[in-house]
């Protein structure tokens, strides 16, 4: 089978329309919104702050905790039961690993930086949108960062490699989905997952194209951060 035209009419390497805003949650120490198509992620940073229970504290460095969550009405289909499950636990963990390399929390021993990511509406690509929003929120919180983090899913639908899959592409039976997080300045990959099946060549093509797409996401992040900075 040949996938000749994308379900939503985009070019194969074309991202969905994006928007971003920094400083959306005044109570938080840093916050950001990132939207790609119908997937919206809100991120709020609290900290560095005291970490309880005490046994979790690390006297060598502050720690980073990510809480990824889909709001109960944000799913395609039935209500998502609140409280999180195995899926959100795993996604939170991989996001943590995707972001930690750009932070240096050595100056905050025993403390924690909490990042809460909530999704009010979803159309696939939620972990990538969460990473992109969380990185902007951390920058907004004024934490020292070596780089930003941008993320997008690449994948295969039938015979084509596509970027930024929507729900119908993501759930296509003949396809694969490969989310990638990239540090835009160093080009290093900090998150890599895949489901579906692809050849090694296709995987390499996905990563290369995802990295290219991340450059555009990086521009959106920078513009949103600049706007926040100028307004102040």
């Amino acid at each position: 089978m040949s996938y000749t035209k994308r379900f939503d009419g985009r070019g194969f390497e074309e991202l969905r329309p994006m928007s971003a805003k920094v400083g959306i949650i005044p109570r938080a120490d840093g916050s950001a919104m990132f939207k790609t198509g119908k997937t919206t992620a809100l991120a709020a940073v609290y900290g560095p702050r005291d970490l309880h229970p005490k046994f979790m504290q690390n006297p060598e460095t502050g720690i980073l905790r990510i809480f990824y969550n889909m709001m109960p009405f944000s799913g395609h289909g039935e209500r998502v039961r609140p409280g999180g499950g195995r899926r959100s636990k795993e996604i939170s963990m991989v996001i943590q690993n995707a972001i930690l390399p750009v932070l240096d929390l050595k100056d905050y021993p025993n403390a924690v930086v909490d990042v809460f990511v909530e999704l009010p509406q979803t159309d696939a690509g939620t972990r990538c949108a969460a990473i992109t929003a969380a990185a902007m929120a951390l920058a907004d919180a004024g934490l020292e960062m070596k780089d930003l983090v941008c993320a997008v899913a690449a994948g295969r639908v039938e015979d084509k490699i596509v970027i930024d899959l929507n729900y119908y592409e993501d759930s296509h039976e003949d396809g694969a989905d490969l989310p990638v997080a990239v540090l835009p300045n160093s080009g290093k990959v900090t998150l890599l997952q895949m489901d579906g099946d692809m050849t090694k060549e296709q995987i390499k093509e996905c990563i290369t194209k995802a990295k290219e797409a991340c450059k555009k996401i990086y521009e959106v992040q920078k513009a949103a951060l600049k706007e926040r900075f100028v307004k102040r």
């Binding site: 916050s31 119908k38 809100l42 709020a44 109960p72 009405f73 799913g75 009010p120 509406q121 159309d123």
Partner: protein, 258 residues
């Protein structure tokens, strides 16, 4: 610290001035935005000053409860999300979240604002389940009133999804143009008492000094369809009389934002 802040609040209220310059019986600016989540069958965002709350409605088909075979199911849940306040923690709903959800539930249910008898697809077998979830985005006080308004706005925004041949929801199809059978618009006004003073729409700092509060759900006819007293101090019958008066007077200003 708390004592000083309360003394300060009392002095300010004696002059009918609030921390942010408002009068005692004045709300912060109220705005309602509809359709903020395309994943939900209905959704809305309510802002009261800096406080922001989202509500979404998910519709499912379900079997009716055995004791109400001729009625649809209604559920209200509230999440005090950890992203909205440094004091909130992730985890199952605590006392405050549960109270907010239950008090909104009573306003919607007891006002008969939704005609649950019209939510029946096949009597005794299949009915609509209306799930309302309220999520806090930024908490600067006054969550109860914002939550109720958001829930109502999300219900107004709801469009029924299509059903397939088994009378289950076809989430892939476009929603229909049909809304929920809504007849009333109950809004909640929480009136707070500190010392001899009454005020509404408390900021987070003011909430710390609350002695007693009364949430009053008021329909557009001015009738009261739910009450909830909170706070540690008792209220006199005269107090309650005054507080209901205040709520009835201010409810239209909230409803106007819808």
């Amino acid at each position: 610290m708390q004592k000083e802040s309360k003394a300060h609040l009392l002095r300010a209220l004696a002059k009918n001035v609030r921390y942010d310059g408002r009068k005692a019986l004045e709300y912060r600016p109220v705005t309602v935005e509809y359709g903020i989540s395309e994943s939900a069958e209905g959704s809305a965002r309510v802002r009261i000053g800096g406080t922001e709350v989202m509500a979404g409605v998910k519709l499912e088909t379900n079997t009716p409860y055995p004791d109400t075979p001729d009625q649809g199911n209604l559920m209200v849940n509230a999440e005090l999300m950890a992203l909205s306040n440094p004091a909130f923690e992730p985890g199952p709903p605590g006392e405050q979240a549960t109270e907010i959800a239950r008090v909104v539930d009573r306003a919607v249910r007891e006002s008969k604002s939704i005609d649950v008898h019209k939510l029946v697809i096949k009597p005794g077998e299949k009915v609509w389940a209306v799930n309302i979830d309220i999520c806090t985005i930024n908490d600067e006080g006054g969550l109860q009133d914002a939550a109720c308004l958001a829930a109502l706005a999300a219900l107004k925004n709801t469009r029924l999804p299509k059903l397939n041949e088994n009378d289950d929801v076809d989430y892939d199809a476009e929603k229909t143009k049909e809304g929920l059978p809504l007849s009333k618009q109950p809004v909640e006004v929480t009136v707070i008492k500190v010392g001899e003073h009454f005020f509404v729409d408390a900021l987070s700092e003011e909430e710390k000094s609350i002695e007693a509060r009364l949430t009053v759900a008021v329909t557009e006819k001015g009738t009261v369809c739910a009450l909830q007293k909170g706070g540690a101090l008792p209220l006199s019958v005269e107090d309650i009389d005054k507080m209901i008066d205040i709520a009835q007077k201010l409810a239209p200003t909230l409803r106007k934002a819808l």
